[in-house]
């Protein structure tokens, strides 16, 4: 029963991700005085892509054609271990938050290889930039997560969320720092403004898009979908770790429905925040991203130190 629920939650996660992307676009368009596409547009795009025959470069190897499936599976697996509407699901015990970071690394590894596979300058550029940014973002992210896991003394996400819920509403300076650090990292890792712009194909701004320029058809659909799920994953991490209220702690229908509503509300709010920041900010130069990410790391470090100095039990 609980396993079924876990699988259902994973499917829900994967199914809702395009909706979040559509909502984000909708908010952004309205903020920028543009006409917004329907909320369902991402679904239509994905469906259309899956029906097309993919075109693959002549000398592409199996890495290129298999990478989309590998990336997608890794991200779906990551989605399965993050509590969305309920905690204490059995999948949460399969892997903890460090493994989650590992899944992201796995997906990124193959995405970067796929970028290099065709041998165009764009692909190499994208891979190089992606690996650069992620290798500075990863320590910052783990720093923020360590703050949380040391407070809850577990790296299991589900237990950590329960711990935060049981503590009730306490304002912890360490959590504030960690929250901001994680937000900055999330923006960098999901390729949003000001680090990367998902909507353009300009040589100077591309990171993520540069790697997947050669993809088409169902391969492109999988990669796009995976990146939408990844965006939602970061959203859910931020929402459920720092504001876990509403998440279902029992498996009654009522609690689950309430949990679903709560997470939809929280994600909608986060998306509005993100669209406002994307409207207000301009894209950064690549070499300023390191300053941005070092700032995120510093925040993570401050969070950890304030936990050790101010909050530790002894």
């Amino acid at each position: 029963m609980t396993w079924l629920l876990a699988i259902f939650q994973t499917l829900l996660f994967v199914a809702l991700a395009p909706l979040l992307a559509g909502w984000l676009k909708w908010c952004k368009c309205h903020l920028q005085n543009r006409q917004a596409p329907s909320l369902l547009q991402p679904y239509r795009d994905l469906l259309k892509l899956t029906r097309k025959q993919p075109v693959v470069a002549e000398h592409a190897s199996w890495i290129f054609t298999r990478a989309p499936y590998i990336i997608f599976s890794a991200i779906v697996l990551a989605a399965s271990i993050v509590p969305l509407i309920a905690v204490d699901l059995p999948t949460a015990a399969i892997a903890d938050v460090i493994v989650l970071v590992g899944f992201f690394a796995f997906a990124r590894f193959f995405l970067a290889l796929a970028g290099l596979d065709i041998g165009t300058a764009f692909g190499g550029m994208g891979s190089s930039r992606e690996m650069t940014i992620s290798s500075i973002a990863e320590p910052a992210m783990l720093m923020a997560i360590f703050t949380l896991t040391m407070t809850a003394s577990t790296t299991n996400l589900s237990f950590a969320i329960v711990h935060v819920l049981n503590e009730g509403l306490v304002l912890r300076p360490s959590f504030v720092f960690a929250l901001f650090a994680l937000m900055l990292v999330a923006i960098a890792e999901t390729g949003r403004i000001p680090v990367d712009n998902p909507d353009t194909h300009l040589e100077l701004t591309m990171i993520h898009e540069a790697m997947i320029l050669e993809y088409s058809g169902r391969h492109l659909a999988l990669i796009e979908w995976a990146s939408q799920v990844k965006l939602m994953l970061y959203g859910v991490l931020i929402a459920n770790i720092f504001f876990p209220w509403g998440i279902a702690q029992s498996f009654s229908v009522q609690a689950l429905a309430y949990g679903l509503l709560a997470i939809i509300g929280k994600l909608a709010l986060l998306a509005i925040l993100l669209s406002i920041s994307e409207t207000l900010l301009a894209k950064m130069r690549l070499f300023r991203v390191q300053e941005y990410l070092s700032f995120a790391y510093l925040l993570g470090l401050l969070g950890m130190l304030s936990h050790i100095i101010l909050e530790a039990s002894r």
Binding site: I94, L116, G124, S127, E138, T155
Partner: protein
């Protein structure tokens, strides 16, 4: 006793393979011997025929090579068996050999820790001996005699095994020197290149300085005890100061061999110089023997541990890990890159050992056991994937006659099997889930996160920062190996050699790497097999194993406690297969779009996409070079060649990039300079005039007489 026999057979077989190698030029002698002892009317005509066929000129060389490697491989098999047997048996065996000086027999002790390193050596040696016969066939007999290579390989392996068996300081140093000197000759094997001679010289100097430090550290211990056996050394109680002095000396000695920053400089020189299967053994296995030495010395012999030593190890390890991978990233030579990456991995091992020491000294033996386990498991994993990558590099060198990453490319189409095995190595070393490298790093993170139990505030903030450095290392390693795999195997060929490269003809060369790749994946999915074995080792050495053994079922990995952290690689694998399978099936069920259309790559509408347009190594790492600019000594120049009457047009552009290690100019050049200066001063009294020398002798004699009377 059976276990002991297995262990001895491993040693003896490795020596035997070395001795057999010496017979490579003795075909004529064997011929006469066989003719003399097997007369034509002998009772065994078959035997004679067989011998005759073996001794045929055309066959003898290759058969002989194979025989040498078969013996070496058997030695590896016995080492694995002995290691497994002693770890399962969970007690230590002791013995004495009446060799050496008459009143100083060699003491032998074979316990869990030695057994585990026996396992590491055994697996490495098996892989190498599968790979070796085909690989060494490229060396021309006249220039690089196989006898030399085979002899020193056998001595090298035997020396390493003896180091693990040693139970007294004398025997330990003899075995240690055997290992060092044999590997010196292997580094110097292709001595016609001056770079190799230089590398071998540096290696020898560093090895001897290191050995001196180890002798001194044993000396400190021995001066407080009544003997040189490890049992006697164990009994001594040292004052904290003397213990710290011994620790520092041991750290210097073993760290030099292990390649810890800043005493790592021999490593990136020596590893590329040696033949590939030897580099695999040196990097994958010999560095682990140094780690063994440090563990044996600190955790076993030195007695009470002090947390300050742990901090030293932690800091040195962190610096090595981050520095090693950053240097690795900038190397265009594949084997140099792998050598630097070994520095990184040794750094990780030292970090976690440092954590174990800190926890042990603060009275948390269970957490110490966790850190100890993580360190040993990482040592094991590193030996697997580093061996794999070095053997892969050997295949690449064999097929493309080059080791420069920038001249390869597109080899995945031409060498599909090699590329797959190499990919497994790259994924394991980048510590991606499902592979073994990830599990040990995960354990390392779990150890670091238990820092809350410590009282010391500085330690509690230092350890998480080092954990974040570990995360940085892992991410940088992933970037580095994306570069390696992408530049070598993906894209378009960058040179004619790689365009014409083909898969190895002799498939036996792929067996060794295939074995290692399989193990990398297997222990990534079922890490508990190794962890359960290691638990016994930790129990023997630290007196403590992981808390609840019940949580360590084959499916789950829950080192701290089951309701705190858990990781289940088999279930992750199942999940990946399900998710991938469903998406694969779903998206390809439409028959019309099932096939892919092949077309030319998009070239921005300009036409003529050439291999020169792809990102190169230095282009790929350019952002890193800029962000971490202070880490290297970078010499980057763009020379423009002008032409035309006014020198206005650019004719050609030459890009020059050289990235150098800080440690040479900062640490070693002052030392060599000082030594040279000193030598010059000493040289002044050497006039070369015999009368002056006689004068010196006269004055010395007078002085001596004066002193005596």
């Amino acid at each position: 006793m059976m276990t002991m026999i297995l262990a001895y057979s491993a040693v003896i077989l490795s020596f035997a393979s070395g001795l057999l190698a010496l017979m490579s030029n003795q075909r004529g002698m064997l011929m006469t011997l066989s003719q003399r002892f097997l007369t034509p009317d002998a009772h065994f005509p078959n035997c004679r025929n067989l011998l005759g066929r073996i001794l045929e000129e055309s066959r003898y060389a290759s058969l002989h090579r194979q025989a040498v490697f078969v013996l070496l491989g058997l030695s590896g098999v016995f080492a694995v068996l002995a290691g497994l047997a002693v770890m399962m048996g969970q007690d230590s065996l002791t013995d004495q050999i009446g060799l050496g000086l008459p009143w100083l027999p060699w003491h032998v002790r074979f316990d869990g820790l030695s057994g585990f390193f026996f396992l590491i050596i055994g697996i490495g040696v098996i892989a190498v001996s599968l790979y070796g016969p085909a690989y060494v066939a490229i060396y021309q007999e006249s220039q690089h005699p196989f006898a030399v290579l085979g002899l020193f390989t056998g001595l090298f392996v035997g020396g390493m095994l003896l180091v693990l068996l040693a139970d007294d300081a004398f025997f330990f140093m003899i075995a240690w020197e055997l290992m060092s000197v044999a590997s010196y000759f292997l580094v110097a094997f292709q001595h016609e290149h001056s770079a190799n001679r230089r590398a071998a010289f540096i290696y020898l100097v560093m090895a001897q300085v290191g050995a001196l430090a180890i002798i001194l550290s044993f000396g400190v211990l021995a001066s407080f005890s009544d003997g040189f056996t490890f049992d006697a050394l164990r009994q001594t109680a040292l004052s904290p100061t003397w213990a710290s002095i011994a620790f520092v000396l041991a750290l210097l000695g073993f760290g030099m061999k292990a390649g810890i920053v800043p005493v790592h400089v021999w490593l990136p020189e020596a590893h590329p110089a040696a033949p590939s299967h030897i580099s695999a053994l040196m990097s994958g296995v010999m560095l682990k023997v140094a780690v063994y030495g440090l563990i044996r010395f600190c955790f076993d012999l030195l007695g009470e541990l002090q947390w300050q030593w742990g901090v030293v190890l932690l800091v040195l390890g962190t610096v090595s890990a981050v520095g090693g991978i950053l240097y690795a990233m900038m190397q265009p030579n594949l084997k140099r890159l792998l050598a630097y990456s070994s520095i990184e991995n040794i750094g990780i091992i030292f970090m976690v050992l440092g954590l174990a020491m800190i926890f042990m000294a603060n009275g948390h033996p269970q957490l110490a056991a966790l850190g100890f386990l993580a360190a040993l498991f990482h040592a094991f994993n590193h030996s697997l994937f580093k061996n794999l990558l070095f053997l892969g590099a050997g295949i690449l060198q064999h097929q493309t006659h080059d080791l420069n990453i920038d001249t390869m490319g597109g080899l995945i189409q031409r060498m599909p099997q090699t590329s797959f095995l190499f990919l497994v190595g790259c994924m394991s070393i980048s510590s991606l889930p499902l592979f073994n490298g990830f599990v040990s790093e995960w354990l390392a993170f779990q150890t670091a996160l238990q820092v809350d139990v410590l009282d010391n505030g500085v330690l509690r903030s230092l350890i998480p920062v080092s954990a974040a450095a570990l995360a940085l290392t892992a991410a940088l390693a992933a970037a580095c190996f994306v570069k390696v795999f992408g530049m070598i195997f993906l894209g378009l060929p960058r040179s004619r050699n790689s365009e014409k490269a083909q898969e190895v003809k002799d498939k036996s060369m792929l067996y060794g790497p295939a074995l290692l790749a399989g193990l990398c994946f297997f222990f990534g999915i079922f890490p508990n097999l190794i962890i359960n074995l290691l638990n016994g080792v930790a129990k023997q050495l630290l007196g403590q194993s992981l808390p609840n053994d019940t949580a360590l079922s084959w499916l789950w990995l829950a080192p701290v406690s089951a309701n705190k952290v858990s990781y289940s690689p088999p279930m992750v694998l199942v999940g990946v297969l399900i998710a991938g399978g469903i998406s694969f099936w779903y998206l390809r069920r439409n028959l019309e779009t099932k096939t892919m259309r092949r077309a030319a790559a998009w070239d921005c509408g300009f036409g003529g996409l050439t291999p020169r347009m792809q990102y190169s190594c230095s282009a790929f790492t350019m952002p890193f070079r800029r962000i971490f600019a202070r880490v290297w000594l970078i010499d980057e120049r763009v020379d423009k060649e002008m032409q035309g009457a006014m020198d206005m047009d650019v004719k050609a552009v030459h890009y020059h990039l050289q990235v150098q290690d800080h440690s040479w100019p900062r640490l070693y050049q002052p030392i060599t300079h000082g030594v040279n200066q000193l030598a010059k001063q000493v040289g002044r009294i050497q006039t070369g005039n015999i009368r002056v020398y006689l004068g010196y002798s006269f004055v010395t004699l007078i002085l001596m007489l004066w002193v005596i009377s």
